[in-house]
């Protein structure tokens, strides 16, 4: 008997018991819908977090001077005083095969004043490379130039939050503001980046050449910087970059072999790995729950198929008597369960996608439906039908035609 004929027989058997078939499918529908929805929500959350982290910087690697403590008092991260702008320049000069941009960063808190308004915040002293490193773009005006950096010009660019608080609707470009009573000229406005992962407003920012910050705002006799930001050419070289930057800094800081590093490197892959492992774990747990419901659905199919075989035992006997081989009978019942589970799977995919979108819309969560995993879930439903349908079908195929025909 051709496969198509057996398929038609299976379809007809399913169509005859509509309510029962629907209830059997329901287990698979719920299972697949749960898998699809959970994966869509999990993947959406993960993708959003990864995107936000990568918005922090472009192949970002950070180097902090490590506080090694002076007596009993320890400072905090970035409070060590051993790292200088010279270190940043050296990294840029000597590791250009790994690094596409380096910016030293110094930070100082200031009260900003313009006309009658004022606003408190941190001034970031950076180099021109920061645009490349941190994915900032200038919305109005311009960023400071390398020449202004060398000459320690009193110029600055501001974020949209600072602009709103100091200037409201006024055009800030070309205006002069006062920082710690030193006048700085606003030459540009940075395009908004919004809040980061931790809810911190990234637009509450004011940037000036690090030379100007050191000279006019910190007025320190030291040349130390709080950190340096590096943009690597490729994240693949991260390990090598860490090693080479470390070696260079140790050499520059005249550290003997027995001495520990006086700096520490950080990069976004560490943060991404942490977030990835958290959301990954959630996804695994929820998928496990969904898989269990799929298992229950599969057992439902097996149960119904066993009932169906017993119920149609005379039909099996008759089919065998007129020439159905055990393989024909096996195929017939196996197809029946596979059709039930794939129809359940298809409906489950639709319910899952619609459900995930609805949940996402209601809760404001990002939803990411991946074609690959959707297809995998659907194929898995067919597999469930095959797996749980095999035993009843095998039992039917091994029946003795005489016992079937005599069955009362």
């Amino acid at each position: 008997m051709s496969f198509w004929m057996i398929f038609k027989v299976a379809i007809r058997a399913i169509a005859r018991n509509k309510t029962r078939s629907l209830l059997t499918c329901l287990g698979i529908i719920v299972g697949i819908a749960a898998v699809i929805a959970v994966m869509a929500i999990g993947q959406g959350a993960q993708t959003m977090m990864v995107k936000e982290i990568s918005s922090m910087g472009n192949n970002l690697m950070m180097v902090f001077p490590e506080n090694r403590g002076q007596g009993p008092v320890s400072g905090g991260m970035g409070q060590g005083q051993t790292m200088t702008a010279g270190d940043a320049e050296a990294v840029k000069r000597e590791l250009s095969h790994l690094v596409q941009g380096v910016s030293p960063q110094v930070r100082t808190s200031v009260q900003m004043m313009y006309a009658a308004k004022n606003w408190a915040g941190n001034v970031q002293g950076v180099s021109t490379d920061i645009l490349l490193i941190s994915n900032w773009t200038v919305m109005e005006g311009r960023f400071f130039s390398e020449e202004e950096e060398t000459r320690s010009s009193r110029v600055c660019v501001i974020g949209t939050t600072v602009r709103k608080n100091l200037f409201e609707d006024e055009d800030p470009v070309g205006k002069t503001i006062r920082l710690k009573n030193v006048t700085f000229k606003v030459i540009g406005v940075l395009a908004s980046k919004g809040a980061n992962n931790w809810g911190q407003d990234q637009d509450d920012v004011i940037m000036a050449p690090y030379t100007s910050v050191q000279r006019y705002l910190q007025r320190s006799k030291f040349n130390n910087i709080n950190m340096m930001n590096l943009s690597l050419i490729s994240m693949d070289d991260l390990a090598e970059a860490k090693r080479e930057v470390g070696a260079l800094l140790r050499q520059r800081h005249h550290l003997a072999d027995y001495q520990d590093d006086d700096f520490e490197t950080r990069d976004t892959t560490e943060i991404m790995n942490t977030i990835g492992s958290v959301t990954g774990l959630m996804t695994v747990l929820l998928t496990a729950v969904a898989a269990i419901s799929l298992l229950v659905g599969g057992i439902g199919i097996m149960n119904i198929m066993l009932v169906s075989v017993t119920e149609r035992i005379k039909e099996i006997g008759l089919r065998m008597a007129i020439g159905a081989t055990p393989a024909n009978i096996l195929t017939q019942f196996l197809l029946e369960s596979v059709v039930l589970s794939t129809v359940g799977g298809a409906v489950g995919v639709i319910v899952g996608v619609v459900g995930a979108e609805a949940i996402g819309a209601a809760k404001g969560w990002p939803i990411l439906i991946q074609t690959g995993s959707t297809l995998a879930a659907f194929l898995f439903s067919a597999l469930v039908g095959m797996f749980f349908g095999f035993y009843p079908a095998y039992r039917a195929s091994k029946l003795n035609p005489i016992d079937c025909l005599r069955y009362e």
Binding site: M1, S2, M5, R16, K314, E315, G317, L318, R319, M320, A321, I322, G323, A324, T325, P326, A327, N328, N400, P401, I402, L405
Partner: protein
């Protein structure tokens, strides 16, 4: 006439409890092409076991069975299925039609498993067979819409679908009234006259009277076989034969 069925020293032993039951106890028998055989006997005589083994629905415990010159006693389930499909037709006491399936589709079924004909040729042949058994206009009826006699006619048409050399009938009139029984038996007689070999199990003398050869069984043994001598017998003659055999 060629030897179509030949069994030698056939035993079928069931282990029920401690005592083994010999449903067939060393039976040897041969049937020629074109014969119309009635196997008779009380229930438990082994006649149904015999028919099931002859029909390749069951396998003997020991003994040989040549069907159309081929040994079939120890074949796999799949091989037996192919033999039943191509060489044997079955008519059962309770008709065994697929429920909620039209007469036409029931008749077509054996060829679906054989896959010999095109869809159109299959349909044409099934319609011809239905016409031949006298159900020309009822091909779309389901078993529930047909009387017992009509259902048995559909079953006969189905048995003929793959043009088998042998028909096996197990109490074909057991569930029918007298009028339908006569119609069905007349149909079997016609088929026999056309040359189809028929092996029928019955315990009714008047049904056995339609056959040309009569075999009486008891306790798994053949008690009497008239080898078709004297052709068709009257009901009284059959009754006497059975009585003598079991005396």
């Amino acid at each position: 006439m060629a030897n179509l069925i030949e069994i030698r020293d056939m035993y079928k032993i069931y282990a029920i409890g401690d005592e083994p039951v010999h449903a067939l106890d060393g039976v040897s028998l041969s049937v020629d092409e074109g014969e119309f055989v009635a196997i008779m006997g009380a229930s438990g005589s082994g006649k149904s076991t015999m028919l099931n083994i002859l029909g390749c629905l069951d396998v003997p415990t020991s003994g040989s069975y040549l069907l159309d010159g081929v040994e079939v006693a120890s074949r796999s389930a799949t091989e037996l299925a192919h033999i039943r499909n191509a060489k044997l037709g079955f008519v059962f006491q309770n008709f065994n039609l697929l429920p909620r399936t039209s007469a036409l589709e029931n008749v077509e079924l054996p060829d679906l498993y054989m896959g010999r004909l095109s869809m159109r040729a299959r349909r044409r042949r099934a319609l011809e067979l239905l016409k031949r058994v006298g159900l020309g206009g009822r091909h779309s009826h389901t078993p529930a819409q047909l009387s017992g006699g009509q259902q048995q006619r559909v079953a006969i048409a189905r048995a003929l679908m793959n043009n088998p050399p042998v028909l096996f009938a197990d109490e074909p009139t057991g569930n029918l009234d007298t009028k339908s029984s006569i119609e069905i038996m007349n149909l079997f007689t016609e088929l026999s006259d056309e040359g189809i070999t028929i092996v029928m199990v019955t315990h009714e003398d008047d049904i056995a009277a339609y056959a040309k050869r009569h075999i009486v069984m008891r306790d798994g043994k053949v008690m009497r076989d008239d080898h078709g001598e004297g052709g068709r017998k009257s009901v009284d003659e059959v009754a006497r034969l059975v009585k003598e055999a079991l005396a």
